[in-house]
Amino acid sequence: MASTAAPPGAVGKSPPRPDGPAKVTGATRYVDDLALPGMWHGATVRCPYPAARLLRLDPAPALAADPEVVVLTARDLPGPNVIQLIADDWPVLAAERVNHACEPVALVAAPTRARALAAAARVVVEAEELPAVLTLDEALRGDPRAGGQQPLVLAACTVERGDVEAGLAGADLIIEGSYETGHQEHIYIETHGAIGIWHGEEAGLEVIGSLQCPYYVHKALVRLFGLPPERVRVRQAPTGGGFGGKEDFPNVICAHAALLSRRCGRPVKIVYDRHEDIIATTKRHPSRVRHRTGVRRDGTLVAQDIEVLLDGGAYVTLSPVVLSRAVLHAGGPYRCPNVRIRGRVLATNTPPNGAFRGFGAPQTQFAAERHMDRIARALGLDPLAIRERNAYRPGDVTPTGQRLDASTNALECLRAAAERTRFRERWRAIERERARGRPDDGQPWQGIGLALVWHGSGFTGDGERRLGARAGVRLLPGGRLEVLAASTDFGQGTSAVFCQLVADAAGVPLEQVQVHEPDTAAVPDSGPTVASRTVMIVGGVLQRAAAQLRARLLAFAAERAGLKAERLRLVGGQVLDPQDRVVASFAELADAYLAAGGEASWIAQHQPPPEIRFDEKTYQGTAYPAYGWCCDVVEVRVDPDTLAVRPERVTIAADVGRAIHPVLCAGQLEGGTLQALAWGYLEEIKLERGRYLNDRLQTYIIPTVLDTPDMETILIENPTPASPSGAKGVGELPMDCGAPAIVAAIENATGIAVHALPASPERLLEARRAGQVVQPQHAGA
């Protein structure tokens, strides 16, 4: 931890991020900051109904008012009316049937944004409204699209281990609970935007966008335009936040901008304002999770029967993969011999839900952690004791039959956070205080709560094997190295960390390494920047490529010096002989190597170890190559009169495997924690007839710095064998933990047991009125 001496090399230090200076001076150019010669602006025509039959789209009034504008509908598509993702149900533009409010039905381009918006408002949309399914309850009763008698199931999966019914039958106690969470909007500060640049049939299509996954967009455009892959080029502009929101939806807006550009024969930019971004883009799936758990009197889990329902919205998007992760994490970080987890995603006539940091795991772990607290109270155990008893240890087996490795640090995280905050003592003291009754003096009630979670790094199951991520390093004159990867940096610090990993693996100083812009014409397919896979998987591929480069250049140096390659070392940009004499500088060697016509790029491919296998039919095997572990202790104050909650302090203890860049690593944990806390007590979307009511930043509230607790981050480093650097993914892990922790703190402060997010004052009051109140625990007091 903090006291160990810094090792040589760049890894483990926190050098300034390379994109920092441009960002603090305003020099970074995001999509909306780019102006191309002759560029027009696009706008989207949307149908207001949640379900409707489209009768007529009439552009005449728009054209009459502004003859220069261009209007485009589903009839004008060059290829299939499909947003390429998993299923083919998501149209580029609705053609006959509208399945959610604000679904795009036409596109408009004009010389200015104002004219485009004015023209879009004049396009007449005639539609006949149809019966709509707007909630999970309505979906369960039957969806017209599924024949009306049953739900339209977008995805389903089940994990089973042991014998749940037998386990429940043999338990001392069976505890049941149901937990719900709502939509969450990403609120990346930069809204969605893309520029389409049609260069003609021969030269093809180029798109510049605010996006996480250049090759997802590439694949979608190749299909829509029917072009050979080499004639479609996708470039990532600097991207102002993503959080999963720029994983799936860029396939839509990039397609729209590209279609308009092809039609106009000039670059066309579409940038959503905040209102449009909220009404039109994907959100976190709302969830309902039911637990039926068998326990022994001492708190040991013997059976978990869990049912997961997610609201997928109108289309499949990425829901099957979200559900998979939701289900695989639904038991929480706890060992249990008999487990059955059944999951389904149901369709509703609401805007499609998609990727959001955590990808289903925050929903199911909110339920798991709330349920653990319920079990603990039923048995008279404190929150720490129930978790200490059941948390995974190395060697334990997960519901998919995966044996956990030595980097299973659930207990270490739990104990680090609990000891740091004197959790047990303070939690019990507050319980006793509640039991005694507090004076009615208007003073805020204090509370402390805890949650423990796990999060699998990398794609689920065999995803990494199927993808075979490729990435590489190019040698440039002067011994500079350039990272070639499709992994995008939308704030996390990917570029900084890649430079560190490559510098050390190649044996050159950090300043010698730079990162190429993610551009499908220039970098190989490293896969999407999602699933906490970038540092662990792509970083590992880059380390291998850099090591190959290093070996090749040392061999070249050895040939020149008449020595054996294995006798030379490359350290800090110098080639040294066994006596540590400088044989050549790396810069000089690189120039000679390039002048001799040597290969300039080394591309490596990810190869998961052959023993890592996952069977997607049985849901058995290695679900993830590594797991991160995290414990949050949240301290709150609750106003006794208004039930307004103020988080005061959060202590995050996270096992990250290895912190390549401790400042950025902590930044991921803290930023994710705040998003999770806010989802827990503040952020809420209300719908009316399938349309988001709070569709602007005045009504969709995210935390300001005034609402934000002080944070302390404890990094626990126990390298995973699953990646060469030992690092585990850290992007999503904190998103799982904050909400159950703050709700637990609120329960400690008020006695109100919250089973549905967010724990807003209104819901707390409602829960108290409904009798959702726990008795103070003062055993052993």
Partner: protein, 175 residues
């Protein structure tokens, strides 16, 4: 016909110290003029309704949301944008601290936050955390959780007082 109130369509103001004479619709947003007419794209639009602070500029030294400022309010006043602070080769101490302490992630809120922080530290030499929170409350950041933005300001103050630059904060607490 009612006599028009004398609102001139010419606005004389300065941007980053440079005198400007601007003509146009008096209710035009300062944000659009900066971004699309003067090419000063460091000022970002995040919400268009004064909630997020991404478009923060300094108007006579005070942080304001440029999306809420009509051009007619700029007459005779001084506008400072992020481009008027330091270039990448001569960063202000607070800009450097944002980079080193981890106050920067995606960067979309950063110009506004840097300007608000810089203005605060111009006015007050040693704001405490509570005061910092109050001053920065108009600038939303969705990436950092704000912790390292607060630390960036603390580092700037410490460096100013101690003379030497503080070590960049690492991620760990020292248990």
């Amino acid at each position: 016909m009612q006599e028009a109130i004398a609102v001139s369509d010419t606005v004389r103001f300065t941007v980053n110290g440079e005198p400007r004479c601007w003509q146009g619709e008096p209710m035009a947003r300062l944000l659009d003029v900066l971004r699309y007419e003067l090419g000063l794209t460091g000022t970002k639009e995040g919400c268009g309704e004064g909630e997020c602070g991404a478009c923060t500029v300094l108007l006579d030294g005070e942080p304001v949301c440029a999306c809420l400022v009509p051009m007619l309010q700029c007459e005779g006043r001084a506008v400072q944008t992020i481009e008027g602070l330091g270039g990448a080769d001569r960063l202000e101490p607070v800009q450097r601290a944002f980079v080193e302490a981890g106050g920067v992630q995606c960067g979309a809120c950063t110009p506004g936050l840097v300007l608000t922080a810089w203005a605060l530290l111009q006015r007050e030499p040693r704001p405490d955390r509570a005061r910092m929170r109050e001053a920065l409350a108009g600038n939303l950041c969705r990436c950092t959780g704000y912790e390292r933005i607060l630390r960036a300001l603390e580092h700037t103050i410490a460096a100013r007082q101690g003379g030497g630059a503080p070590a960049a904060g690492t991620g760990e607490a020292t248990p």
